[in-house]
């Protein structure tokens, strides 16, 4: 198909009104044609508005749970806002808020900064951590941030950490002299925000080791991460 004929497919593509063959040809063309990309973006906003014009009864209440369950099955949560073990809700909420605020700022300033997004994210996470827990101390280290609230509740934010290998997990520890105490496990991948179990007293260190899935009671590996509060 000639380019001109392909340009003309933009409105139908925006409405999902092409047969599969034309849709494929158009998509191939789209990769090369900036004019069509711009026009498509504009027309898609208009087409998308048509979705809002419908009225219907609400979806069945269990649909939400089914979607979330299937999503979890396909790809387990790699940003555990809650650890598997019990943790004070306030700490979990504080960390969720840190990261949430950080990403909010981040997404707002995203355009054309994709390549710098991790640096940006790290900076804004620190800002966000301070915002989210007034009076909390934030200890930055090369790969993330440790946030310690006045009462010792703490959260560890690590970025660019690879997902733990199959059968393994990452485990955080609080070390205040003596045997480190287990402080929660996480699986890595992208940004990780873990509320730590236990209290981080001034001078204590937070360590992270790689352990077998499910975690262990005392570290068996050398920490690959160590942060002094």
């Amino acid at each position: 198909m000639e380019a001109n004929a392909l340009h003309d497919l933009t409105p139908a593509y925006a409405l999902d009104a092409l047969d599969p063959e034309d849709a494929r040809a158009y998509e191939a063309h789209l990769a090369r044609c900036e004019r069509c990309r711009d026009e498509l973006a504009a027309l898609t906003e208009a087409a998308g508005a048509l979705a809002l014009a419908t009225e219907a009864p609400p979806p069945p209440p269990d649909l939400r749970a089914r979607i979330l369950q299937e999503a979890q099955r396909e790809r387990p949560n790699v940003v555990p806002m809650r650890p598997r073990r019990l943790v004070p809700l306030a700490a979990a909420a504080a960390v969720a808020a840190c990261v949430a605020v950080a990403l909010g700022i981040w997404a707002g300033s995203l355009s054309s900064k994709l390549d710098r997004r991790d640096a940006e994210l790290a900076r804004q996470q620190r800002v966000a951590a301070i915002l989210a827990t007034p009076g909390a101390r934030t200890i930055s280290f090369a790969r993330g941030t440790l946030v310690v609230a006045k009462n010792g509740e703490a959260a560890l934010v690590v970025h660019n950490l690879e997902a733990a290998p199959h059968g393994k997990t990452y485990e955080a520890w609080i070390s205040a002299g003596g045997t480190p105490k287990a402080a929660g496990t996480f699986d890595g991948g992208g940004v990780v925000a873990v509320p730590l179990e236990g209290s981080v007293k001034p001078g204590a260190s937070v360590l992270v080791t790689e352990e077998r899935s499910g975690g262990v009671d005392t570290p068996t590996q050398k920490p690959f991460l160590s942060v002094r509060s």
Binding site: P11, A12, A46, A49, L50, E55, P59, M81, L110
Partner: protein, 203 residues
């Protein structure tokens, strides 16, 4: 989900786009937030197209799972997050409506759809948007509106529309283009009531 409830929707203050950024990082709570914002409108769209509750649920589920899988490809500079998500649901519904051959022959503009289900949960923002888009649609010339509705809600391809309406494909293309372009203008116009803003949207 008890703990989740206790956290009182930690993402409530985020823009739609930021929620999608979290979904891209495999945060299932962000996916839940996205569903809480758009599940209802997605289902309304799918039900209107498919006229079958089970098929509509399938379309919504597949649309959200596609979002879950592909959120890292979402480009905020290209589309609003809501548009992106609803496009995914729409595409699934189009696939289903074609496969099940559920495309209907009767006109698609209906007045008799059940507004009786309106509840307190029906988000005021959605109601506002619905009325705004419906008003804009009413302002389109009949032929343009017909082309948009049959294509978008009916799932007809442009060639099927041409045949059905007894017009050359070129005419259908022009009507679609003119209809969408005009709709876009109409929706961009301030209408004196826009003081109302959703708390979670950046737009």
């Amino acid at each position: 989900m008890r703990e989740y409830a206790a956290m009182a929707r930690p993402f409530a203050h985020l823009s739609d786009e930021a929620v999608v950024a979290l979904v891209a990082r495999s945060d299932s709570e962000a996916l839940a937030e996205l569903y809480d914002r758009f599940g209802r409108v997605a289902y309304g769209l799918a039900l209107r197209m498919l006229r079958d509750e089970k098929l509509a649920e399938d379309a919504v589920q597949e649309g959200f799972l596609t979002a879950w899988r592909n959120a890292d490809r979402y480009m905020p500079e290209r589309a609003k997050a809501s548009t992106w998500l609803l496009t995914l649901v729409h595409r699934r519904a189009v696939d289903l409506v074609r496969r099940e051959d559920r495309r209907r022959a009767e006109p698609l503009t209906e007045r008799g759809e059940p507004a009786a289900t309106e509840s307190a949960e029906d988000d005021a923002w959605l109601r506002f948007e619905r009325e705004r888009v419906q008003a804009a649609l009413r302002q389109l010339p009949d032929q343009q509106r017909e082309a948009l509705e049959l294509a978008y809600y009916g799932g007809f391809t442009q060639s099927e529309l041409a045949e059905r309406l007894g017009q050359p494909v070129g005419t259908i293309k022009s009507r679609m283009f003119a209809g969408l372009a005009r709709l876009r203008e109409l929706l961009a116009e301030p209408n004196g009531e826009t003081a109302w803003k959703p708390t979670h949207s950046t737009t």
